[in-house]
Amino acid sequence: MSSIATDLLGDSPSQTHRRPMLPPVVRGLIWALIAFLVFNTLMSEVLDRMPYHPFVTRASVTVGWVAAVCAWLLGVGVWEGVVRPSFGFPTLWETPTDWRKYFMYSTDHRVIGLQYIFSSIGGFLIAGFAAMLMRLELMNQNLWVFSNPGAYLSTVGIHGTVMMFSVGTVGLVGGFGNYLIPLMVGSNKSAFPRMSGVSQWLVPAGIATVVLSPVLGQWTTGWRGYEPLASQDPAGIVFYYLGVFALTTSSLMVAINLTATILFKRAPGLTWNRIPMFAWGMLTVSLLNLIWLPEIQMTFLLGLLGAVIPFPYFTQVGSPLTYLEVFWLFGHPEVYIVVVPAFALWQEILPVMGQKSLFARQWGIIGLVFVMILSGMVWAHHMFTNMSNSQMLPFSFFTEIISIPTGFAYLVVIGTLWKARLRLTTPTLLVLMSMFNFLIGGVTGVLLADPVVNLQVHDSFFVVAHFHYTIIGAMIFSWFAAFYYWLPKFTGRMYSERWGKVLSVWIFIAFNVAFLQMFLLGLHGMNRWVPVYPAYLQPMNFQVSLFAILLGIGFVLHFLHIAWMWRHGPRVEENPWRSKTLEWQATSPPGDENFTTIPTVVRGFYDYSDDRPAVSVDVHADAPQGAR
């Protein structure tokens, strides 16, 4: 790193030291390791020496982790890119143009977006592997993959935590949001590029922390970290709190950056009435993140203090409901943090694929906004088993009401598809599949909002199937739709339509066969959180596992296909979908700058009733040839 960050005072070329460099993540890893060893040792051996002086204690590992994450961030380039300039020290910063730029701190929103995408794919594969282990275990009614129930439950926790906080919350927002939002609003950069550059590197740190949690001991709470259960577990929960803290901090910074970018970096003429649907999705989800992520961070901080000091906040209060309340205050909006970008994507992609004007656009936006608002009023439906009937009523009511603004997204899309000459491309197919899946997830959600049903199927596989239909079924399918839709933008290359469709049908069948049976499993009495179950449930569990593994293979094949086409796909024209939105008016992939001339937006992006473009200038008229 020192070879690329040299002293500004000596700005003559002769004073610039150059030597081949490793990607700065290597330096970050080394610094993190050193910082952890130093601070852990300082705590456990000097400042907080325990009886029998263990080398790693809950307190020492917490302090060591904080030091390691700080050192990691500094090592990947925050030292040169943020800290030195913040204290007035000059910095020379040469960003490599090769693959190494993806393995270091960057202020380029496109690099950051791809870094986020790679990080969330990493999280998806790791958490997916955990899911495969769980399904292998459940193929048999006895313990046979894991040696004890705690190991199984720790794996469930890692799966849920990494999926929710590094894929669900990050994949579409941190990844596609960072890459596309500045392009979609006609800007060359995001509002706070330095902050954005820092935030990305918290994601791998957070994923690694959660994945390494079993090193400290088992934790049996799942992604919810329930107290007082967590306080009865060994120390693995400490890394759960810390990992989630890193991941949520990252998403909080993304939320601030994207909100300010949409509000302040818009091109001339891009009025509120013309903001792209995907940007509306990012705006609403960012507001949700800004409200609810700090809430859960404070809750988890108290949980961490309970594990480390220990301060028995949630055990001495006498009711497990205290923690449940503060967790689900965040927990249910989190579902919409995951799924609202998918709603926006449907409304972004289908008008383009149908070349038909977006139907009732305002209602689509109203739907997104009201889903955002109502998502904060439904949390207690997760606790119906612990509530009186009178307390259930308002939460049951609002949970059912939230289906109305959700339905707006469907109405907008159905109206748009009406008499459209839809191109049945892979992104189209995936969006339609996503809508089908969410319909099942949504309808079963309305069922679960009814206390009578809820109390019967609570904590059964019916609930597991329901939320997987909303998370995988809606968000993950839309995530893949986004990959295929914007692959030509990222690379200038096209995927194989045949393989894209075959693999999409593959995952659609595997997903539905696996998770529809989970509803039945739940109705037959299959509990969550158990690796051992009655023998009569084994045949259906075996089938679910079979198709879940096929689903996992299908996802991996999708990634392999996308990765192959990223390098070897046929070159394609710059706007292959004939979209009017601004990102497609830049070169594919974008050159050094998104737009050499900032475009002026003169009409909405979703009016396909005439052929006139939505912008008034050729936005890359002056772009260098290589960038086109």
Binding site: S86, P90, L92, A191, L290, P312
Partner: protein, 184 residues
Amino acid sequence: MHDVIEPLTPRELRKNRFGLLLFVTSQLVPTFVLINVRFMLADEYVSAQADLLLGGLLPALLLLLGAIPVWRAVRFAAVGSTDRMRRQLTLAGIVGLVGLVTQIWPLIHHRYDALTPFGEVHLASVGVGGFFTLVTLILLYSVIARAARGQAGPEHYWGVEATGFVWSFNALSWLAIYIVMFWL
């Protein structure tokens, strides 16, 4: 590549103010959670052994007083009086440092039992407040360091103004926690 610090345009200044407002607003949420937890766990109880000054009134007063030189520094920055700006920032830094020590003192020494509901909530509040004060001071010292290198003044006004906003937020949020902890 030479880092050239460009003066902010009015729109960029508004953007920065908005971004900071978003951040500060988001950080009101944990403060609110902390206040709720205080009543959930300890109701209105205040330990008779609690020190009203250290970890209470003294840091509240010092942080509020420190806001005066910070905002004077903002005014001096706006008119280009950089020496006076630096003096005011240094004064605020000293006040803030003393404020931080008085704020986190109960973490080192307290007379009440830490493992009681009041003790837990008070020490958590002191820790959270101390963390925010530390962040505020780091921001302040970064501006002082930049000012020493001629990178803060009328053309580079934002850093000083941001410090003023963050300082004020920190002082007010601690004041709220102090009132909730000892008086409500």
